[in-house]
Symmetry: C2
Subunit: 153 residues, 2 copies
DNA sequence: CGGGATATATAGCCTGTGCTATGAAATCGC
DNA sequence: GCGATTTCATAGCACAGGCTATATATCCCG
């Protein structure tokens, strides 16, 4: 039992249903933090590969937030072992960070490619993929990939 | 000028790209509030239709949050004109609230149905739909609906 | 109709993620 | 190698959305 929400001893169906319902919402809420991490790591990987380096100011610009916001988040990412900061030299991904970035990029590409295969316009596909990518389970992702594969052939 | 993020006067492609990128993230962030409202309104509609009434305690149980959290949110929803609270009699949807709930339910059903049509298992479809529904644009939703229609026939 | 159970309201706190203002450090051009 | 620019760090604030504890109001049953 990780978090005893509020187990009412009522043996009704509704009770069980409600608690499963609640679980879903709680997972979604807790996922928020992870999502932000993923956005950062993914962006950092992209910046490194496309610009050669990832600086705070550039990350801030891309995410549309202020630099101190980025600074604080990077500190956390460093503590969590995803990145390494070399002051005035940029931020770099650790092994763990690279693995996470690769996974995110793959997921992102599958989702975006899937939407495009479905006929969605490029811009909307990009936007929706950004929003959806964090909410797609492994099973769904696989189905998306398969769909694209069979459609593209 | 609603929010002058940080327009660097650099006429590079990267600059424009970065700002469009940023826009997307900002939209996603701002959507958070809306999402919560939608979850509440959707749940309230469901409770009213299935249980006959929507009480704070029940909403709290379903969402997996504490009752005061719900109380505060309901206050906001009432201020925003989505619901009307009748103390000790439950919470009711206004016209606006009902319209929003209907829209959310429709969207939810389409997304979940779409995932199922794609072969996703029931439980995963339900969970993923819950996460995805707030990030699906009108265009994508339409494509989902069409896919289901052509597949089901 | 009184009192326990239930429902709601309120106060006060914490954390996360934004922000601005400002200071300190490094880099780079000259 | 020095000064301006750039980059980063820090302090301090706001707000949203969690929480607990507690007070109050209502309901309902005996």
């Amino acid at each position: 039992m990780t978090k005893p929400v509020s187990q009412s001893p009522s043996p009704e169906d509704a009770g069980i249903d409600a608690e499963r319902h609640a679980e879903g919402f709680q997972k979604t809420r807790n996922a928020r933090r992870t999502e932000l991490c993923e956005d950062y790591v993914e962006l950092i990987a992209e910046l490194i590969s496309r610009e050669g380096e990832a600086r705070q100011v550039e990350i801030a610009r891309r995410l549309g937030v202020a630099q101190p916001t980025v600074a604080r988040m990077l500190k956390r990412l460093a503590e969590d072992g995803y990145i390494q900061q070399k002051p005035y030299r940029g931020v770099f991904l650790t092994r763990t960070g690279e693995a996470l970035a690769a996974e995110c990029q793959r997921r992102h590409e599958i989702v975006e490619g899937f939407l495009r295969a479905l006929g969605i316009s490029d811009e909307v596909a990009r936007h929706d993929a950004e929003g959806m990518e964090h909410h797609v389970s492994a099973e769904t992702l696989k189905a998306f990939a398969q769909f694209v594969a069979t459609r593209t052939v």
